[in-house]
């Protein structure tokens, strides 16, 4: 189906021999996702830099106002869950490229469940726990904590919606070895959200212990 450009004679009707579906870096959508991720990374980077800026502008005690240093057990469990979700998503991505629809569906589903578990733990266990000690209105530390983890949580929720969309279409048989750029884009986005969490974890949870 695919013919490299240098093998073509200039007189051939190229529109009949080039692939009529683009995936990966031949498609526009894949590049759109690359640059969406670039600007999103700048968005998170701005908040993280603001966190460090305000930390070093404030009094030596961090967290301030007698707030205890963050507990680490639950966040580390959440991290393990979130990061492990990248494995089935990666498997699904590869299955998508090979046209293995069954593995694709199962991988996406497992990834979705793990992501949802992360979000559920954040909203039902971690936040209520933290809110007993401080709120976003308490001080800049509280504002930064909730803004950064909240924005990341929103991205996990967006990723779960994206996944649901891709899964519905996977069940309807929309993807095969020739057409799977949506799966590739979802996988790229999901890995990005997982990588961002590393920086959130380092900044919000680990750095106050330094």
């Amino acid at each position: 189906m695919t013919v490299a450009a240098h093998e073509l004679e200039p007189t051939e009707r190229l529109d009949e021999v080039l692939p009529s579906n683009a995936n990966g870096s031949a498609s526009f959508a894949w590049w759109g996702m690359v640059w969406l991720i670039a600007t999103e990374a700048a968005l998170f980077g701005t908040i993280i830099v603001s966190y460090w800026y305000l930390r070093f502008r404030s009094a030596p005690a961090w967290p301030p106002d007698g707030i205890a240093k963050p507990e680490l057990v639950l966040p580390l469990i959440m991290s393990a869950i979130l990061w492990s979700s990248s494995i089935p998503v990666h498997v699904a991505d590869r299955a998508g490229r090979e046209g293995d629809e069954r593995t694709l569906r199962i991988g996406l589903l497992i990834g979705w469940v793990l992501g949802a578990a992360f979000l559920a733990l954040l909203l039902t266990v971690e936040y209520p726990e933290v809110l007993r000690e401080f709120t976003p209105r308490t001080n800049a530390y509280g504002s930064l904590f909730f803004t950064l983890t909240g924005l990341h949580g929103l991205h996990v929720a967006a990723g779960l919606s994206f996944s649901a969309w891709v899964q519905v279409r996977a069940w309807r048989g929309a993807f095969d070895a020739q057409r799977h750029v949506s799966v590739q884009n979802f996988a790229m986005y999901w890995h990005f959200v997982d990588v961002v969490w590393l920086f959130v974890l380092l900044t919000i949870y680990l750095s106050p212990h330094l």
Binding site: A5, H6, P10, T11, R13, L14, D15, E16, L18, P19, S20, N21, A22, S25, A26, S27, F28, A29, W31, G32, W35, L36, A38, T39, E40, A42, L43, G45, T46, I47, S50, Y53, L54, R57, S58, P64, D65, P136, R137, N139, A140, Y141, G142, S143, L144, T147, W165, R169, A174, F175, R179, H180, V181, S182, N185
Partner: protein, 627 residues
């Protein structure tokens, strides 16, 4: 067998009528909308400036109240930067980037339509603040703590912060669209070192948006969270720092200045070779200079904050980086001069505007280099000297190239030439009026007149420069009106332009004026940096297949090519017209007005409608490729 044009026409035709008007995804129609809407905002912001100049014509006039004056200078800046300069440069890019790289549309046509609608919606949103008389009044850089809920309790700053977040959606989606278009849709053979310099300028512009705009978005989100919900980012009592706003704003704000100038420099580079009748000297150096400006723009933001009281070592680095900007700017100017001197200069109106631009930009650059020196900056900060400098850079560096662009590309857009005599009258009125308005401000500034004050006392030596400035603004306004009239008049009675009225070197001159909906009958294979000069078979927009032309008549498609060498990779089906981008924009507007008025029910309904509109947009209908 039907010709290519006869087979392409029904596939690409969008028709007329309401559905086509709402749903169009044609980059040329969208680009033109950006231009017309952007220039409408230019008129609004220009009238705001005129009112301010009337107030300042003589000492202690009372034409405007102090509050009205504050609103006018704030909205003048916001409108000129976000609703005029950026959108008009996007408009030129939208219209001409696909034509200059030999593509049939932008990479994401519906996202393109969405970007325009959001720009229109956000422009309306920001200006609707005038209707309830709570327009932003803390300047375009909106410093804290003045802008917090204690000192500006009205909705003015909420209009500002939410409006800037909203327009950021448009600018960002447009930037990503430009980047992917330029990387992936270039005609086969248009390797990196054959990309027209204007296209490089749009690429540098788009890259700057991707990395700089998030700082403004986050700064505005922080501000709204602090104003509405009592978060603490900028108030010292809660552990915040008002200087954080300045850092975030200028980390965006300085690149913003360059992202306005970068495509404008590219515009000049598109015009100079055509009217010098020779290839551009130093192509590689100009491209590298544009990319260097993009990089360095992220390292100079603190020079807006030299008077804040930052550590000397930080100011030293930023001062050095600011001086470095002179190098790439000078490189481009010398390359242009060399091209003109060694060519055969044709002094048509577009070239006249480019010459005016070079002169004004050099003057603005000289006063800019003065600000790079910390002591000079501290002595003149917040004076009219700054106002003079920034207008020489922005009006000289961006508005004059835009007008050059109108005269250069007007024949391509309208199919008819603009009147040369009116063009020259317009240029001289604008050039003289501009200098009369802004040169005296250098003097008023050095004599100590502070900016952003609604009046002044007699006898401080400021009377004459202020009177001259006020006279100048009317001369410049007249010059601008002459061009607008020229445009409207030429649309119907101008001399027919033909495909290539100037003998241009880039691909847009090889197709019709105005170009057909599919742009080119065959997507050309490019073998030169100046294809329209070196490949005579391109003329008529239909390079024969034997010479590499690809008709792609089988469907609504364009070609995907590799990033560096532009080798064909795939045929990509392009989406048809769709009303969903406009519906999504309306839903988002509902959301933003809900947030503005703290009507959370409305905001949630708007958000739900947005999700619905997004699903309607993305719902697979079997017409485009799976994305």
């Amino acid at each position: 067998m039907a010709s290519y044009a006869e087979r392409l026409e029904p596939v690409w035709r969008e028709g007329s009528g309401l559905a086509s008007w709402v749903g169009t995804v044609d980059h040329k129609r969208i680009g033109l909308r950006y231009l017309y809407t952007g220039f409408a905002f230019f008129v609004i912001a220009g009238l705001e400036a005129m009112l301010m100049r009337v107030q300042l014509a003589r000492p202690e006039l009372a034409v405007l109240s102090p509050q009205a004056y504050n609103e006018l200078f704030s909205m003048h800046g916001v409108t000129m930067m976000f609703l005029f300069a950026t959108p008009v440069l996007s408009g030129f890019g939208n219209y001409f980037v696909p034509l200059m790289i030999g593509a049939r549309d932008m990479a994401f046509p519906r996202l393109n339509a969405f970007g325009y609608w959001v720009f229109l919606g956000a422009g309306f949103f920001l200006n609707s603040a005038f209707i309830i008389r709570q327009a932003p009044d803390d300047g375009w850089f909106n410093y804290l703590p003045l802008a917090n809920a204690n000192f500006t309790p009205s909705l003015a700053i909420d209009f500002y912060a939410l409006g800037l977040i909203f327009i950021g959606v448009s600018t960002t989606s447009g930037a990503i669209n430009f980047i992917v278009t330029i990387l992936k849709l270039r005609a086969p053979g248009m390797t990196l070192n054959r990309i027209p310099i204007f296209v490089w300028g749009e690429l540098a512009f788009a890259l700057t948006v991707v990395f700089a705009l998030p700082a403004l978005t986050i700064a505005s989100v922080f501000l709204e969270l602090e104003r509405r919900f009592g978060f603490h980012f900028y108030d010292a009592a809660g552990g915040g720092d008002p200087v954080l706003w300045q850092h975030l704003f200028w980390f965006f704000g300085h690149p913003e200045v360059y992202l306005v100038v970068l495509p404008a420099l590219g515009l000049a580079s598109a015009i100079i070779p055509t009217f010098s009748r020779r290839t551009m000297i130093g192509y590689t150096y100009i491209v590298l200079a544009e990319l260097f400006i993009f990089v360095i723009s992220f390292g100079v933001w603190v020079h807006h904050m030299f008077a804040v009281g930052l550590p000397t070592i930080a100011m030293g680095f930023i001062s050095a980086a600011s001086f470095m900007v002179v190098i790439p700017s000078g490189t481009q100017i010398f390359a242009w001069l060399a091209t003109m001197v060694s060519g055969r200069l044709v002094l048509s109106t577009p070239m006249l505007f480019v010459l005016g631009f070079i002169l004004l930009f050099v003057i603005g650059g000289l006063s800019g280099a003065m600000f790079s020196a910390v002591p000079f900056d501290q002595a003149t900060t917040d004076s009219y000297f700054v106002v003079a400098h920034l207008h020489y850079v922005l009006v000289g560096g961006a508005v004059f190239p835009m007008f050059a662009g109108l005269y250069h590309w007007g024949p391509k857009i309208l199919g008819r030439k603009l009147d040369e005599r009116l063009g020259k009258i317009s240029f001289w009125l604008m050039f003289v009026g501009f200098n009369l308005t802004f040169f005296p401000m250098h003097i008023a500034g050095l004599l100590g007149q502070p900016r952003r004050t609604y009046t002044y006392h007699e006898g401080l030596g400021w009377d004459l420069p202020n009177l001259l400035s006020t006279m100048g603004v009317f001369v410049m306004g007249a010059g601008i009106l002459v061009t607008f009239w020229n445009w409207l008049r030429s649309e119907h009675q101008g001399e027919l332009a033909g495909d290539d009225p100037w003998g241009g070197e880039t691909l847009e001159w090889t197709t019709g004026s105005p170009p057909p909906e599919y742009n080119f009958e065959t997507i050309p294979t490019v073998r030169s940096r100046e294809p329209a000069w070196d490949q005579p078979e391109l003329h008529g927009g239909a390079q024969p297949p034997e010479q590499g032309g690809r008709p792609l008549t089988a469907g609504h498609t364009t070609l995907s090519t590799s990033v560096t060498d532009a080798e064909p990779q795939a045929i990509v089906r392009m989406p048809h017209a769709s009303p969903w981008p406009m519906f999504l924009t309306l839903a988002l507007m509902l959301t933003f007005y809900g947030m503005l008025l703290s009507s959370w029910g409305v905001a949630v309904a708007g958000a739900a409608a947005s999700v619905g509109a997004l699903m309607g947009w993305l719902w697979p209908r079997g017409e485009t490729q799976e994305t």
